[in-house]
Structure formats: C-alpha cells, structure tokens
Symmetry: C2
Subunit: 220 residues, 2 copies
DNA sequence: AAATAATTTTAGACTTGGCTAAAAATAACA
DNA sequence: TGTTATTTTTAGCCAAGTCTAAAATTATTT
C-alpha cells in the first residue's frame, strides 16, 4: 500500500510509544510525537484504522496491526541505514544525522535501501547504537546494561545512548565520549547520583544524573 | 524561502523548457512536464509569480526570475549529484537513477549536498553526461558534438545522451555502448539516416536514426 | 459518589494542489 | 479578414492534513 509521509510519521510515532509503554498509544502522546493537535491525531487514527494499519478504539488509544508494524519497522530500517551513511560516509557528527535521516527515510525504493545496506557493509547498529532491523524486520539484540546499574570498579564500553537530543550528544562530544569509549566506574555519589569515571584516555570525568541513565554499555 | 515539492517541480520544468526553447514556457508545455492539467498550471504560475520566482504574464507563458533560476539550478545540482551517488556508489544501472534522484533532490540540506559532492569527488557530469552545476550554480561547459554531425572516418567518444528514457538507455546497454565508449564512423546510410560504426571492442553495430541524434560525443 | 479536571472526539473552517467544465484570449486558416 | 481551432484562464469543486472551539467521555479528587 502506498502511504503519505504524514501517515508514515504517525505509524512510526505509534510504534515508538507502543515500544516504550507496552500499551496502546494515547492521542495526546501521538500528538506530542508528531507535533500536532489532538484533533488532528484523532482524524488520522480513523484514517489509519480504515486502512487496517492500526487497531483503534475510540478513547482507548492505538496500536499497530501486523501490516502497520511491518511498515513502521521498514521505516526505522531506512532511517537508521541513512544515519549510518551520513555518519560513516559523509562524516556528519552524530547529533546532526537524525533530522536529515527523518527526510531520507521517506524515499520509496526497496531496491535503493537494500543496495545502501550492502554499500554500508550491512551495519547492525546506527550511530547512536540503536539496532537496525534487517530486510525481514528482525532486530538484532545485544547484551547491554545501563551505566547506572553497574557497581564501582566495573569496566565497560559505551554501545548506545537512549537520549538523542542535540544538546545531550554535544555534551558527550565535549566529554570526549563516543560509541566505543571505554569507561571504568570510580565513584558513585549517592547525594546527587552523579558518577566519577575514568575513560580509556585515562582522563577522569564526572557524569551527572542527567547523563548516566542515558548511557548503554557492554561489560568488559 | 521554503518551497513545497510541487513548487520545486514546476520551477524545474520551467527551467528545462526555457533552456530548450529559449522562450517563456507555455502553460501546456509545463502541464506535460509535470503531468497535470493546464488549469492547475495556471494556478501554480500565479502562486509562483506572487512569490517572485517567475515572470508571468497572462497568456504569455512563464520564465524564471533570478531567484527562481537559482532555486532550479540548485535542484538540478542535487538531482545530478544523487544520480552520481546511485550510479557510482550503489551501482545502479544508468536507466534507473533518474526516478530515485527525482525524490532525493527534494531533501533540504545544503550541508548534506556539499558533503555529498565532496564524498563523490566533486564530479562534473552525471551518469548521462549532463553537467553538474557547482555550489555557485555555474555549469561546466564541454566541447561536444552530436554524433550525427560527424563525417565518415571520424573517431570519437561518447560523453552524453540527450534522451533519458529507460528503453533508449537499455537499447544502448544491449549495444554495449556506455559513456566513454569509443566510436569510429564507418558508413552513413542516406536512405534511412542510419549509421554503421565500430566500437572500441572492435565490434560493428548499426545505429538507427532514433539513436544517432541522441548521442553526444567528443572528437578524438 | 459527585464534582472537577483532563483527555479525546466532533464540528466547522482553512490551505495546498489537484480536477472538470465553461468562458476568454490567441493562433491558424480559408 | 472573418471564422474556426487551440490555448489559457476562470469558476467551482474535491481530498489531505491541519487548525480552533465546543461537546463528549474518561480519570481524579474530595
């Protein structure tokens, strides 16, 4: 089925809300995601429901149908592959790739995306460490913890971030922290829940509680 | 100024018609280019005129203003750079790149297109041999002739095609003719204006009059 | 459990870009 | 040059996606 960009954006929003909350996505939550009014969302939910892309009951929120889920997954695949292209090949900083990929993901051509995937070497994760579904829509899973949950003395490596805002990513740039950076936990301050860590550059930095819970790491 | 895709497509159409005819583009000609009705074109011309992107007088056709010309040129730059990407990097055949580039050209990011340009090695011509304007909108010129105009015995090299249709390009594929192919003119049949040529592979082929005038060559 | 608050839906309107049919202007021809 | 043919514009309508304001439903609080 041929969808408009608006329809695609709603499906992606519902996918993300479903994923995060494990509940039907509320009208307001969707409205925030796509930056529009609740009234517009209601209109669109009725339309998407008419096309059997979502399950929707008045006042009860929306969740993706099988075909809606497939569409959303392919969009995420396209988005993340384009992010890899922008980051790996065009050398964009990681905080700039999202907005451009948001446009690129709507280009319609399976042929294109599969060739791009090959050109990029079939990457499994995007520049923020999010998994890239394969052509069949399967996500690669990975053993990962949040930095917050680890004990003093633990050594680990940054493999992902759960926050994608430009200021947050730029803050990490300033701290010389990027994917692959090795981190050793030196201290955990219970007062403000900040953490003192040593990086693989042997430098020590303090990570505040606005940073720590957003870092996904692999134990080493 | 922020333009819609529809507006951009009209500007490109007017650019191409202006370029080919050296006259204001007629409503009907534009309608054919963008596959719509004459009435819709009139509406859009009024809108574009209101934004000072074109010069338009009722019943007299449209031509690009300076700002319209700049916009159209940048679109052509984006289109042709994406074609190079698809052809050189993703290995698409030359007859498939146009349609995908038609979508990609609307992605808005100067940053993106300039990085892409560098990534591709600042190519001056696209996969059909059309010149790619630089960031300032200047087109590279080239000494080229149409194959038709050359005498028997002349040796030359294919540097461009003036016809971009899929069947035409596939026909050339079948003849093993591509950009860079060397051609020596053996015979010119005055009856049907076909031409017998020898390629750099030493094979002889007959080029009919539906082919010959669409081949742009450089003398060697 | 009733009253208030928050969320969601409906109703009606606007913009963009398209359409058809009819009117107006221009071009072509006899 | 007058008449017909073609092109272009106007007029009125439609669908998508948005909006605001008001009504309906659900949730929360006292």
């Amino acid at each position: 089925m041929l969808l408009t960009q608006a329809e695609e954006n709603y499906l992606k929003a519902i996918f993300k809300i479903n994923e995060k909350t494990n509940k039907p996505a509320s009208t307001n939550a969707i409205a925030k995601h796509v930056s529009t009014s609740a009234a517009s969302v209601t209109d669109m939910l009725q339309k998407l429901s008419g096309k059997s892309l979502i399950h929707y009951e008045k006042y009860k929120g929306a969740s993706l149908s099988e075909s809606g889920n497939k569409t959303a997954t392919q969009l995420i695949r396209k988005h993340r592959l384009w992010e890899v292209f922008l980051f790996d090949k065009l050398k964009f900083p990681w905080e700039e790739v999202h907005d451009i990929a948001e446009e690129l993901e709507h280009i319609r051509s399976d042929h294109l995306i599969n060739r791009l995937d090959n050109f990029l070497g079939n990457p499994r994760f995007d520049p923020h460490g999010d998994p890239i579904p394969n052509a069949e829509g399967k996500f690669m899973l990975r053993n990962q913890s949040t930095l917050e949950s680890l004990p003093i003395g633990q050594k680990c490596m940054l493999v992902g971030v759960t926050e994608h805002s430009v200021p947050f990513l730029q803050h990490l740039n300033g701290l010389k922290i990027k994917l692959g950076t090795q981190i050793k936990i030196l201290e955990k301050q219970s007062f403000d829940r900040s953490m003192i860590v040593e990086l693989d550059t042997k430098t020590q930095v303090t990570l505040s509680h606005s940073v720590v819970p957003n870092l996904l790491v692999k134990l080493i």
